[in-house]
């Protein structure tokens, strides 16, 4: 049974145009997000070029295990998300919902590991302030950026998990037809959050660590 009639929204003249429109819209939003994270990457680049030794010392303290686990989790979640999108094109409702749920689970696991990693960092007093253990003082710049970059990324991921969850519920309750273009937007956002981690990971965990 096709529900194309209900997938179409005002003011779109037809579903194909709507699908393309959602794509245009989400990619424009991704462009703004690139600039958002880009400002952080610029700060990192500036300070790393100014204080390479401090960044080497500071970067040696990040938890490579947690960072790598999180990379694996997010990459896998992108696989499940891709399967969900493909299944939606074939009208396979149950597969879509299951894959979205798996994506959520993997994202939640990321946040769990992140929480464990943060407590490990705090146990080592790696929060810039009076008790910061490393010298020289510029090591605090690396760690200041670490907290902001991973924190902002985690917030984006949490929002993504929420959106994926709500979307999966809506699909499961057949409030939206499976052909709805909205899944493109959700998936593109998710892949973007994954891509940010792919860039963050080497910058924070692999630099000067051989």
């Amino acid at each position: 049974m096709s529900d194309t009639a209900t997938a179409l929204r005002e003011p779109w003249p037809d579903l194909d145009r709507q699908r393309e429109g959602v794509s245009v819209g989400i990619w424009l939003f991704i462009a703004s997000e690139v600039l958002f994270f880009g400002a952080l990457f610029l700060g990192y680049a500036v300070y790393r070029s100014l204080y390479p030794e401090a960044f080497r010392i500071a970067g040696a303290e990040t938890e490579v295990f947690y960072g790598s686990m999180n990379l694996v989790l997010l990459l896998t979640s992108s696989v499940t998300m891709t399967i969900a999108v493909d299944a939606s094109r074939r009208g396979m409702r149950r597969t879509v919902v299951v894959c979205l749920a798996l994506t959520m689970l993997l994202g939640a696991a990321f946040l769990l590991f992140k929480g464990l990693e943060y407590s490990a960092d705090i146990a080592k007093a790696l929060f810039p302030g009076a008790h910061f253990p490393l010298r020289p003082p510029q090591t605090q710049l690396f760690w200041g950026l670490y907290w902001v970059m991973t924190g902002v990324h985690a917030i984006h991921l949490a929002i993504g998990i929420g959106v994926v969850g709500v979307f999966a519920l809506i699909l499961r309750r057949r409030l939206l037809p499976i052909e709805s273009p909205a899944i493109l937007g959700v998936a593109t956002y998710w892949h973007f959050v994954d891509t940010v981690w792919i860039i963050l990971f080497p910058l924070l965990y692999l630099v000067d660590r051989s």
Binding site: P11, V24, G25, L28, F29, A31, S32, F36, G43, G144
Partner: protein, 571 residues
């Protein structure tokens, strides 16, 4: 049937105006109709315009005496900061795009609505949420950092509600981004059949280019404010010199947004002027293609000049050279636009309705503002004039003489379309002229005293500047009257104004091919589009104020006829 039931039944008739489609407050607060969202924005930004205006009114009053009159210096600092923050982010940035852009973009391209109507409503709620946040911060005590939030004052030393104010601006930034995404997707995907890119009115091009700037620049502001919040609230060193941070990095991040932000303010204004001048000169715009390229060039090159706000911040002379050169380059497309508006007036049949008065005022005042910007783009001159009233005068000429004039031009031009009523032309012309005179009286003295050394943001000043300050403050009073007048005659017109026809100005453009006010779905029957905009040459009728009889909407804009001898005279 009760009256209420009859009224509600009218909603179901095809083509009930968008104002009648639902009378409850909830129907307004949950609307996804771009026209209603435009009205919601208009009310919100007008409220903030007057808050920001009252703040600076108090400042100008205080400045009539070199040692102040009734404010502490701390209160003075907080008032000018309030003025800047409110006027930039809660009035100027949303002004034309969120009101006229929202209302007119779908109409001008022949669409039923913007691409993502619910995102549109969300953008208004983000605005309101951010505005409420900032307003709370500013009323609870405010900030004294200026609207520029420079570090380390904002991160380390400022008392006051820096975090709350920055958070409010952070939130309202996402309103901008949402609007930008929506407009670009709308322009790409929802143009009616026959409406090709180069048949679009320049207002649509202006909305498109401004959206590009909003989407790409605003996130950098968001991040720079987030970093200030992180440093101030959590002690995370980003700009802290004691731990190797660089306060100038904040300035780079801040101005990377805030320079394109001024183009966010001027591009829509240019779009409005490009609609008004052809109509009241009865001439097609001169050089349409170059007007388009100029909009794009301003938007793109505008991203490359931010360092001209930092000539004295310790940048290398090489950086100064590059930013100075690019700042000169960005003036070229703006100048092309001024030349083309002027050329549009050549041998034209000009009439001086209020929209035209404001638009012509824009051209003159923007030229002065732009020229003084060029002076400031020259490094040696800027070293003399930076942080003086010369800079204040420059940016008020472009933002107030420019953008606010254009906003008023557009408000008057499209008022009949939005409301179905005509305003009082006599009072509107009086207000326009008073605005022009009051504006010049306020800001011309500021050029003089700035050049002679009067610093900006100073509470106390040397006696020698008092005469100029008094002149400026009296001008500000005149300007205030001129801004209050429209509230009165527009409000009056809503109740007693003559009903406007579909096209009271005899203008071209799709928005005039539907009733005033438009039905909820915009067009009862979409006109066929097979010609470009501004087909004024062959329009024999001059603009007339609607006399209440609805003019029949013409189905298609007429194509340009071959030129005949004596064409355009004595129509």
């Amino acid at each position: 049937m009760t009256d209420a039931a009859i009224a509600d039944a009218a909603v179901d008739l095809p083509g009930a105006s968008y104002l009648e489609a639902g009378h409850t407050l909830l129907s307004w607060l949950t609307t996804t109709d771009h026209k209603r969202i435009a009205i919601l924005y208009a009310i919100s930004i007008t409220f903030f315009f007057f808050i920001g205006g009252i703040a600076i009114g108090l400042v100008r009053l205080e400045l009539m005496s070199p040692r102040g009159l009734f404010l502490t210096s701390d209160a003075y600092n907080r008032l000018f900061s309030l003025h800047g923050i409110i006027m930039v982010w809660f009035f100027l940035v949303p002004s034309i795009p969120a009101t006229m852009g929202n209302f007119l973009l779908p109409l001008m391209i022949g669409a039923h609505d913007v691409a993502f109507p619910r995102l549109n409503l969300l953008s208004w709620y983000l605005y309101v949420f951010g505005a409420a946040f900032t307003l709370y911060a500013l009323i609870a005590g405010g900030v004294d950092t200026g609207w520029t939030f420079y570090t380390p004052l904002s991160t380390n030393y400022a008392t006051g509600y820096v975090i709350a104010a920055a958070a409010g601006v952070f939130v309202v930034g996402f309103s901008s981004i949402a609007t930008g995404v929506n407009f670009m997707a709308t322009a790409h995907m929802l143009r009616a059949p026959g409406m090709t890119w180069f048949r679009l009115p320049l207002f649509v091009w202006a909305m498109y280019t401004v959206s590009m700037v909003m989407v790409l620049a605003t996130p950098v502001l968001a991040m720079s404010l987030l970093l200030v919040i992180a440093e101030r609230a959590l002690g995370l060193p980003i700009f802290d010199a004691a731990r190797g941070g660089d306060p100038v990095l904040f300035q780079h991040l801040f101005w990377f947004y805030s320079h394109p932000a001024v183009y966010i303010m001027i591009l829509p204004a240019m779009g409005v002027v490009s609609e008004v001048i052809p109509c009241f000169a009865r001439r097609t715009i001169f050089g349409y293609a170059f007007m388009v390229y100029a909009l794009i060039a301003i938007a793109v090159i505008g991203f490359m000049v931010w360092g001209h706000h930092m000539f004295v911040a310790g940048q290398s002379p090489f950086a100064n050279l590059v930013f100075s050169f690019l700042s000169f380059v960005v003036a070229v497309p703006s100048a092309i636009k001024v030349f083309n508006w002027t050329a549009t007036l050549h041998r034209a049949e000009i009439t001086f309705e209020a929209p035209m008065l404001y638009a012509l005022g824009f051209v003159g005042l923007f030229t002065i503002g732009g020229l003084t910007g060029l002076f400031l783009a020259s490094v040696p001159i800027d070293i003399h004039a930076t942080d003086t009233y010369f800079v204040i005068a420059h940016f008020h000429f472009v933002m107030v003489g420019g953008t606010v004039s254009a906003y008023m031009a557009g408000l008057h031009f499209w008022w009949p379309k939005l409301t179905g009523r005509m305003y009082s032309e006599a009072w509107a012309r009086f207000a326009a002229i008073t605005t022009f005179l009051g504006f010049n009286a306020t800001f011309l003295p500021q050029f003089v005293m700035g050049w002679n050394g009067m610093p900006r943001r100073y509470h106390y000043y040397p006696d020698v500047f008092q005469a100029w300050h008094v002149m400026s403050s009296v001008g500000a009073l005149i300007l205030a009257v001129a801004y209050v007048l429209p509230l009165i005659y527009f409000g009056w017109s809503l109740i007693y104004g003559r009903r406007a026809g579909a096209n009271p100005w005899n203008a071209t453009g799709l928005e005039w091919q539907t009733s005033s006010p438009p039905p909820k779905e915009n067009f009862r029957r979409l006109p066929r589009i097979d010609a470009g905009p501004y087909a004024y040459h062959e329009s024999a009728q001059p603009p007339t104020a609607g006399d209440g009889t609805p003019s029949p909407p013409s189905p298609t804009p007429l194509p340009n006829p071959p030129p005949r001898a004596g064409e355009g005279r004595g129509g």
